[in-house]
């Protein structure tokens, strides 16, 4: 049964193939594939020939493989018949020649019943055999030296034409007087055994089938109009005897001929251009052979012949109707499944040209349901790919993607011994546009994702799996990162866990990079930065800590020099700078100092997220980023993260983004690409390195500070308790802990007071000794000695005690270089004079001196530091019957800075 059934459909077939002659080109013996296809290609270039002495054109279809059982359907549709055979063989010695020739004959036997002619091309043989001229054998010394191949093929085709023409004439002139043989398809043969061959019915059947056959031959011989006439007659004959299979074939022939007439460009697509050049010929040629349509000039038919021709030729709408009819007849026969399938495909191609997608999809839908025998896996793949291509052709991209994906899955079906993961992956990639999925994460960064998430996620999973099985972990990592980055909102908690789990598995072998991956197909996979793991909401560049903040030193030349304008004030300048100010931040970073950027991040994952190697991406200045590792709790809220780094050069630094390593994938996240991020500017100026000074004293630290730190002054407090009249030395150690020499030191003192009262001069020093040690080289220590002497006069003033017992008395305003005394003025305003009894004696009172402990001095350019001593007395308080005089001083270095040459 199987023998009678044509089993291998040609999915590439199109209507105009009906006018071609089928020639099989095959190698005999051992011929390298490369050589064979080189010759095959050259042979294929001879695909159409204008026949000598006529304007007809022959079209040739070459195949290097053709199943012989399909050949048996040659009577049904002659373009399925192998009419020519070309064999190619290697033969190097005359000894092998007889054997080679024998093989050629064996090969001929396979298609023997239908062959019109055959040729053998022998390569490599030299000697006397070559000398004998033979028509069916051509000898060539090697594969390079064979210029006459094309010529040979043309001759061969002409010989085919002669046979074809004789057959056509032979059949066409058959008159009903002779007995017409009954043509039949392989599976019909047994049905006609013992049938009455003399009945009218039988004769009509024979006639109808023969007409159809002649129509086929006419079409192949380039006589389009004749073929139309024959087909029409055949349709009438066959319809009257209900010979459905052949009626279908006749109708299809009619359609093919009409399609060839209407669409000379061809419906098959790729061969269109080639066919077009000869497009005018078939119509004219047919015209010549159709007596009714003959015109006076014969070559340029006028409109009357157009009308005459149009009578036989189907209109574009009719073509589809007739195809439908033909297919419905075919579908009555189970064994004609392949014919039906191919007819559907041909009709779809025609409809695609007519741009009637809806009807085309109906034909395709029908084709999907045509059940051939059990298909092999390879044939299934082919079938699905062709369906996909056809859907693409009619503009159904989604449907096309669907079938392509099915084909891809078929490539790796479990029943296949060697799954083709590479092919599967390639096909899957081709489905991407159909599912409107781009592999560039940038396309997803704007707003929310809008697409078929469920379907796209499935596709991405399949890509990941296919690339893994292909043995390309880098691809899997890329796809998986893409999945995680773009589909995060659609993943369930469990899926998030699974995806990250497998991503970590892959990256343990092959870490994810930021390099684009180029695929063989010309596609490039752009890198996928994890901008959502963690999500960054806010980026803020931080100022240096107050102690290290640079201060601009007032230059002698004054401020005016720095502005370029000669005017003291101009609104235009301010206006111009407005835009620049938006991005630039008004503080400075210092070269060589640790600078900080604060990010507010949160973790969208339902588990703890470990972010490693998180650092800053900057431009403009050489920047040594010090990466941090952090661990964010599950679904954390906003979480501050500080990224640090050290600028190595000066200039303007721009923070472009940050880099992370999450699940083994490196990502560079640029702030520009992050949606919904808040940033307060990302550009800051880096000024040259400044020295650093550390100050320590010999006195112990005090427990509490004397004054609230106001931000721009840094102070630590030391304290000492002294009785009246006692004196002590305070040694202040100045150490340069920076890298720059410290050049200048100025000391001023300030005795803090709230009531502007002085209680005497406690402090004295000599600055010269210290200044002698300057400039202070890095790592060197200088000392500075201060003498503290408590000298309070309790003799006459009651008010003093009163004042001492009062909180909040402090004295300020000692310029150190010019110490002065001031008479203590009595308090004017009135708290009632009511001193506690125990406060009378001066010997109870101590002086508690709080000094500044450790200074971390901001560095100044060229170290023109101008410290002055701030020196404060603060308060008295009464405790357990004794009066403590707490006098504190803090030495505050207020540093002026010259910013290099800028202000000079």
């Amino acid at each position: 049964m199987r023998d009678f059934k044509m089993s291998v459909p040609d999915y590439m077939q199109c209507a105009e193939d009906h006018q071609t002659l089928l020639v099989v080109v095959q190698p005999v013996g051992i011929v390298s594939e490369e050589n064979f296809f080189r010759i095959y290609k050259r042979i294929c270039s001879v695909s159409q020939i204008s026949v000598r002495d006529s304007q007809r054109v022959l079209y040739i279809r070459y195949r290097h493989h053709y199943p012989p059982e399909n050949n048996e359907w040659g009577d049904f549709q002659t373009h399925r018949k192998v009419v020519g055979l070309i064999t190619i063989t290697d033969c190097f010695s005359a000894k092998d020649w007889p054997q080679t020739f024998e093989k050629f004959h064996v090969q001929k036997e396979i298609y023997g019943s239908t062959l019109y002619d055959s040729r053998l091309f022998v390569f490599g043989l030299q000697g006397e055999i070559v000398e004998q001229p033979r028509t069916d054998v051509a000898f060539y010394p090697n594969y390079e030296d064979c210029q006459t191949v094309e010529k040979r093929i043309e001759d061969f085709i002409e010989s085919l034409f002669i046979v074809l023409e004789s057959k056509r004439l032979d059949r066409a002139t058959d008159k009903s007087g002779d007995k017409i043989p009954l043509l039949c398809v392989p599976f019909e043969k047994k049905d006609f055994v013992g049938l009455d061959t003399d009945s009218r019915h039988y004769k009509k059947r024979c006639q109808g089938r023969m007409r159809k056959h002649v129509g086929d031959l006419c079409l192949q011989a380039g006589m389009l109009q004749d073929s139309l006439v024959h087909y029409h007659m055949s349709v009438e004959l066959l319809r009257s005897v209900n010979d459905f299979l052949w009626l279908g074939a006749a109708l299809e022939g009619l359609c093919s001929a009409s399609v060839i007439y209407h669409y000379p460009g061809g419906t098959g697509g790729k061969s269109g251009a080639r066919r077009f050049q000869g497009s005018a010929l078939p119509a004219e040629a047919a015209n010549r052979h159709r007596p009714g349509a003959l015109t006076t000039n014969g070559i340029n038919p006028d409109t009357s012949t157009e009308i005459g021709r149009a009578k036989n030729c189907l209109s574009p709408e009719d073509i589809i109707d007739k195809y439908k009819e033909a297919i419905s007849y075919y579908s009555k026969y189970k064994n004609a499944g392949v014919i039906e399938l191919e007819a559907c495909i041909k009709a779809v191609r025609v409809l695609a040209i007519q741009k009637r997608s809806m009807e085309a999809s109906e034909f395709l839908q029908n084709a999907v349901y045509i059940n051939l025998r059990q298909l092999s896996e390879e044939e299934k793949i082919q079938r699905y790919s062709v369906l996909s291509e056809l859907y693409e052709l009619i503009g159904f991209h989604r449907k096309s993607a669907f079938f392509k994906r099915v084909a891809a899955m078929q490539c790796v079906a479990p029943s296949i011994a060697e799954p083709g993961w590479r092919a599967c992956y390639k096909l899957l990639l081709e489905t991407l546009p159909g599912y409107s999925l781009s592999l560039d994460p940038k396309d997803f960064s704007r707003g929310t994702h809008r697409g078929w998430a469920a379907v796209q996620m499935r596709l991405l999973h399949e890509l990941v799996y296919a690339s893994r099985r292909m043995g390309n972990p880098a691809l899997s990592v890329r796809h998986l990162s893409f999945l995680l980055q773009t589909m995060l909102d659609f993943l369930s908690d469990q899926e998030k866990k699974d995806v990250t789990q497998s991503l970590e598995n892959y990256t343990s072998k092959c870490p994810g990079t930021m390099e684009p991956i180029a695929l063989p197909g010309g596609l490039t996979l752009p890198p996928v930065p994890f901008t959502k793991l963690p999500i960054v909401r806010h980026v803020k560049l931080l100022n240096l800590p107050a102690s290290l903040r640079p201060h601009k030193m007032k230059s002698l030349l004054g401020q005016n020099v720095s502005t370029k304008s000669p005017f003291i004030y101009s609104p235009i300048i301010a206006h111009n700078r407005g835009e620049e100010r938006n991005k630039k931040i008004d503080f400075q970073w210092v070269q060589g100092d640790v600078c900080e950027v604060q990010l507010m991040v949160y973790n969208p994952m339902p588990f703890e997220l470990r972010v490693e190697n998180m650092g800053l991406l900057t431009s403009g200045v050489e920047f040594e980023s010090l990466p941090a590792a952090l661990s964010l709790p599950a679904e954390s809220g906003l979480y501050p993260v500080t990224l640090v780094g050290v600028p190595q050069t000066t200039g303007t630094i721009t923070v472009n983004g940050y880099h992370t390593t999450v699940f083994g994938v490196f990502s560079d996240c640029l702030l520009d690409n992050l949606p919904g991020i808040k940033t307060s500017g990302s550009t800051v100026e880096v000024i040259p390195a400044l020295p650093r000074l550390q100050i320590s004293t010999s006195l112990p630290r005090s427990a509490h500070s004397l004054q609230p730190s106001s931000g721009d002054e840094i102070s630590t407090n030391v304290s000492v308790q002294l009785y009246n009249g006692e004196s002590q030395q305070l040694i202040i150690k100045l150490e340069n802990i920076g890298m720059e020499p410290l050049e200048k030191l100025e000391v001023t003192s300030k005795v803090l007071t709230t009531k502007e009262k002085l209680y005497g001069d406690f402090l004295s020093w000599k600055l010269e000794e210290t200044l002698a040690q300057f400039p202070l080289q890095p790592g060197k220590v200088a000392t500075f000695t201060i003498n503290i002497k408590v000298k309070l006069d309790f003799s006459c003033q009651e008010n003093l005690l009163q004042d001492l017992s009062d909180d909040g008395i402090s004295v300020s305003g000692f310029p150190l270089s010019s110490p002065f005394r001031q008479v203590v003025r009595p308090r004017v305003e009135g708290k009632p004079v009511n001193p506690p009894e125990s406060n009378k004696a001066g010997d109870y009172s101590h002086v508690k001196v709080s000094g500044l402990g450790r200074w971390h001095l901001p560095r100044a350019v060229r170290a023109s530091a101008k410290p002055f001593l701030k020196h404060s007395f603060e308060s008295f308080s009464e405790r357990k019957g004794c009066v403590y005089l707490k006098a504190g001083f803090s030495v505050v270095f207020v540093l002026g800075q010259c910013f290099g040459k800028q202000s000079q």
């Binding site: 859907y391 989604r398 409107s436 078929w452 379907v455």
Partner: protein
């Protein structure tokens, strides 16, 4: 009864898709997705017709072995796709039409919802739910949210200001 209902935005991405046999949801996603080809084709063919004569109901998009897929397109090019079981012969064209009309009404109600941003996925658990109780005869859609919304609109609007996003969500769960 419909086994799957989908609302597709003008730009052909799903706003709402729900199927009743939840175990093989992806199959319906594929089915609806591929049906869009046919919808697009029908719409482009329809484009030539006059606007007021336009039929919103697109009819059968394509039959598969087990299901039939029907389509409907609103004037703003929002598409409704409904998948019904082929074995259910009780559903004739008229029933399908009326199901689509109800769906359209529900969709309009969702659009009236002051908290809904056009173009977002329709998140509500209640909106547009296809009821597929086999006992129940005839199509029925449970559309609770919009009516709820209308009656409480005044209250909602009054309360809108103090609520953040969280508040809104909570409100819907009332």
């Amino acid at each position: 009864m419909a086994v799957c209902i989908a609302v597709i935005a003008k730009e052909n991405y799903p706003l709402y898709i729900r199927s009743t046999p939840t175990e093989n949801e992806l199959k319906f996603h594929y089915m609806v997705h591929t049906s869009l080809d046919v919808v697009d084709e029908k719409i482009s063919a329809m484009g030539k017709a006059l606007v007021d004569q336009r039929e919103l109901y697109l009819g059968l998009l394509y039959p598969t072995e087990d299901y039939k897929v029907y389509g409907y397109v609103t004037n703003s090019k929002v598409k409704f796709v409904m998948v019904v079981d082929s074995s259910n012969t009780a559903l004739r064209d008229n029933e399908i039409r009326s199901m689509f009309r109800k769906l359209h009404n529900s969709y309009t109600d969702v659009m009236c919802n002051p908290f809904y941003n056009p173009g977002d996925r329709i998140q509500s658990r209640w909106a547009l739910l296809p009821v597929s109780d086999p006992v129940q005869v005839g199509p029925a859609f449970c559309v609770l949210l919009p009516s709820f919304c209308r009656t409480c609109l005044a209250i909602l609007v009054a309360k809108m200001q103090p609520f953040g996003k969280q508040g809104r969500k909570g409100l819907f769960k009332l």
